[in-house]
Structures are given as C-alpha cells and as structure tokens.
C-alpha cells in the first residue's frame, strides 16, 4: 500500500495534500463554530440571547475564545507526570483529527478544468479505520486525567474510559448490521449504495438508534457526559488543564462530534446523496453541500439533546450500555442476518 502511494505521480500527491489541508481547515472551523453554535442553541432553548457582543450576532466569539485560550497562563501542576501531562491533549486532538481521512465528502469535484476526488483515501477498511481511531481516543482522556495527579481528574478519566470501552461494543455490533447490508467496509461503497430513498436508516431503524446513542456516549456528550460532569467532578479529566492544552481537549471533543455526525450521515442517511439532487451538480459541489447540511442537522440534534436531557447516573449508564444496548445490537444483527439471507440469498 505504501508503495502504491509513493508510485502516484506528483499531481495526485499535490491534490491529496490540498484536500487534506482543506479538510483539516474545515474540521477546525466547524469545531470552532460548534462552540458558538452550542452556546447560541443553549441560549435559544433557554429563552436567552447567547453570545452577542463580539461582532454581529457574536459571530467572532470563537476567535475571541481562541485568543483568550492562547493568552491564558499555561499551568502544569507540580506533582504531575510532566511529559504525559503534555502529551495527553496532543494525543487526543491528533486521534480526533485523523478520522476524517477516509470520509467521502462528495463524488468528484471539477474545478478550473481539474478533476478532484473528494476523499483523501478510499481504503477498503474505511469504517474499521474510524473505529480504530475512536478506540484510541480514550488514551488522551485517560492519560490526561491520570497525569494531573488529582483525584477528580482520575475519577473523570476512569469514568470516561470505562464508558467509552462499554459503548464501543454496542457501536461495533450495530455497525456490523450495516456492513452486512452493504457487504463492504469501504465508506465510499456504503454511501454509493444509498442513492435516492435507499437510506440505510429505513432498513436499520433500531441499528440507527443504537448507533446514535453510542455516538453520544463516545463523544462524551450529555446525557452521557460522565467524564466532565461539571457539578460533581469540576470538569473531570481536564480539571488541572489550562490555556491551549485545555483548548485542545475542548476542541477535540467538538471535532469528535463533527466526525460522529459525518459518520452517522454517511452510514445511515446516504452521505452526499439526497433524493432528487444529483451530487454532481455545481461541478460536484452539490455533494458536499448535501452532506454538510446533514452534518449540521445532526450537530444541532446533538446540542438539542444536550440541553434537554439530564445526565445519567453512572450505574444507569453501565446498565443501559451492557444490559440494553448490547443485547439489542445483537438482536438487530441477527434480524439483519436473517433478512439478508431471506431477501438477497
């Protein structure tokens, strides 16, 4: 595989590099403006105004927040594990950013006579690649919480990691049903099978709900924000962090949410396909537009849920994960298998 990459000509390399930079910039931009969106949506749901002073309608608020993060005092606790403490936020955001590589953002883009593939790399195990990096995401939290040498951080880290391990299982099992339907692990293939109204959510309603709940838990979003739970753990694993290290943690959480919404729209809602809209319109730009409107819808739903539901208690969380979601996911898998055998075999 490496050989193949090295054998590609320079033009293709430049294309891919450009796409990576663009995807990176868009991911960071969406993550930054998710913080703004989060605060605005929270405000509207609570009959408030939200940030309104920085720029028109407070649109420059994320930039102001970034400046604040950079200029705050960078504090390292005296008795912390210094290197791991520094490594943890970097590892967390690195893992969060890596997942966007295999996502198909559209079909092909024809711009200024150039033909661009809107996917960084179409590896045949795309969805497993994402699962792999999601499973690595727990290290940033665990190491950060442990290295802080603070009992609340450690509690947050332990809660977060056990929660993520538990919900990864149900997530993987509900994913298997989708893979059984499509017969491929490549995200491009899965998306291209859902043209028109053939969205996977119509065949996999239970699987979608399971996957969605697990995605909420994997992102440490409310109602599963056991890792942070401000009222009990004063911020959880990032209690001791300040300045841009804290910024990395918060940023990575929003990146995770963005990627989760992308994966949900690609797996269950047809990705860049929408009935009646050809993703090749506007020189291929229609695909990304459709995909991003789906992503933003799901980001809104994530925030809507956060500002509606109270947090689960820890034992309820584990109960839901192990005794409800995993058996339901296995049932869903069996039903899908039977369905595939009956109708396609």
């Amino acid at each position: 595989m490496i050989d193949m990459i090295l054998l590609y000509d320079f033009a293709l390399f430049a294309q891919k590099a450009g796409l990576i930079v663009v995807v990176f910039a868009i991911t960071l931009g969406v993550a930054a403006y998710s913080t703004y969106g989060e605060r605005k949506i929270a405000a509207f749901l609570q009959d408030r105004l939200g940030p309104s002073n920085a720029g028109p309608w407070g649109l420059l608020q994320p930039i102001a927040d970034g400046v604040k993060m950079f200029t705050k005092e960078d504090f390292i606790p005296n008795k912390s594990e210094r290197w791991i403490y520094i490594l943890a936020p970097g590892a967390f955001i690195f893992v969060a950013l890596m997942t966007s590589a295999v996502i198909p953002w559209g079909t092909r883009l024809t711009l200024f006579g150039m033909d661009l593939d809107l996917q960084v790399t179409d590896i045949n195990i795309g969805i497993l690649y994402i699962m792999g990096f999601v499973s690595l995401g727990v290290y940033g939290i665990m190491l950060g919480g442990w290295a802080s040498n603070n009992k609340y951080s450690l509690y947050g880290a332990i809660r977060a990691s056990s929660q993520m391990i538990s919900y990864e299982l149900a997530m993987g099992l509900s994913l298997i049903a989708v893979i059984m339907l499509s017969g491929s692990l490549s995200l491009r293939t899965i998306v291209d099978q859902q043209t028109g109204f053939g969205w996977n959510v119509l065949y996999q309603p239970l699987g979608f709900i399971l996957f969605f709940v697990c995605a909420l838990a994997e992102c440490n979003r409310a109602p599963f924000d056991m890792a942070e739970c401000e009222t009990e753990l004063i911020g959880g694993y990032h209690t001791e962090y300040s300045s841009m290290k804290l910024g990395f943690f918060l940023f990575a959480e929003y990146i995770n949410m963005f990627i989760s919404c992308t994966v949900i729209s690609s797996l269950y809602f047809g990705g860049y396909h929408f009935p009646g809209i050809d993703p090749n319109w506007l020189g291929g730009l229609m695909g990304p537009i459709v995909l991003f409107s789906k992503i933003f819808f799901f980001i809104f739903v994530f925030m809507w849920i956060r500002w509606t539901l109270p947090r689960f208690r820890y034992d309820q969380l584990m109960h839901l994960g192990w005794k409800s979601l995993i058996p339901l996911a296995i049932l869903n898998m069996l039903l899908t298998g039977a369905g595939v055998l009956l109708f396609e075999g």
Binding site: M1, M142, L143, A157
Partner: protein, 166 residues
C-alpha cells in the same frame, strides 16, 4: 523504498519494546507497548494485510491496553509498596527467559525463507479473502477459538458473580 520503511518500523518496534521492559513506571511501559503495537501494525500494512493491521490496533491498542492502563491507574504506584524481588528470583527469571530466547532463535534459524511482500498477492490481506480462508480452510481452528472465547466469557461472568455457590 519498502526496505527502508521496514527497517524504520523494525528499529522503532525493537527500541520501544526494550523501553517497555526497562522503564520503571508501569504506565510508561504501557505507553511504549502501544507504540510497539503501532510499529507492528505498520509492518502488517507493508505485508498488504490492512485488515489485520486495523484489527490489531482496535483489539490490542484500543481495548486490551486500555484495560491494562485502567488497572494500573487504580494501583498505588509508590515505591514503598513495590514488592522487592530477591536475587534468586532475578536469576531464575533470567535463566528462564534466556532459554526461551535460545529456543526461539534455534527454531527460527533453519526457516529463514521469508517471502518478499512484492511477490505475494496484493489482495491477500483483504477482508473478503481473509474471511473465505477462515471459513473454509481454517474453519476448525476458528470455531475452536470461538468456543475458547465463549468459555472464557462464561468463566468471567461466573467469577464476577458475588454469591457463587458451587
């Protein structure tokens, strides 16, 4: 190009494995072991076994090492509570691992005929081919492994039950 990548990955994996054994802090050991797993996953990719590489990362780095780390974090890692091994233990450990090394080297010596990855079929590591092989040629070992896992799971549940009456 491939030999250089192979060499880099091999050196990384050996160094991190050594650091894993030699570092005093168990959490550092776990981190070095994760790096070793990544280097090995890179080797799998070089051998066109991408599925194996990703599964290796998910299972070992993503699940097993997390559990290791989980347990280590809950332990009291201060120096006072660390059990001191007597010299007898150290010597016997050195002899045991040394003889294991000798056996491995002896077993490997005769059979150095590693196929170069360029020669082998590039599709050998794909999920489809791997699945077909697993469910046809190697179905018996596969099923036995499954039964083993089931037994382990049942055992874990039994051990986990508090009021166990046998």
């Amino acid at each position: 190009m491939t030999p250089y990548i192979f060499l880099t990955l091999a050196i990384i994996s050996v160094i991190t494995a050594l650091l894993m054994v030699l570092s005093r802090n168990p959490v550092h050991s776990v981190l070095f072991l994760i790096l070793t797993f990544f280097a090995i996953a890179g080797q799998y990719v070089l051998l066109n076994a991408q599925f194996l590489a990703v599964v290796h990362i998910i299972v070992y780095a993503g699940a097993i090492m997390v559990l290791f780390l989980f347990v280590l974090m809950l332990l009291n890692l201060s120096k006072d509570t660390e059990p001191q091994k007597s010299n007898l233990w150290k010597i016997s450990g050195a002899i045991a691992s040394g003889s294991l090394l000798l056996t491995l080297v002896g077993a490997m010596r005769g059979s150095i005929a590693v196929q170069s990855p360029e020669v082998s079929d590039p599709g050998v590591g794909l999920v489809e081919n791997l699945g077909k092989v697993l469910f046809t040629d190697f179905v018996v070992p596969f099923e036995i492994a499954g039964i083993l896992f089931l037994a382990a799971m049942v055992g874990a549940v039994l051990v986990g039950k508090r009021d166990l009456k046998l």
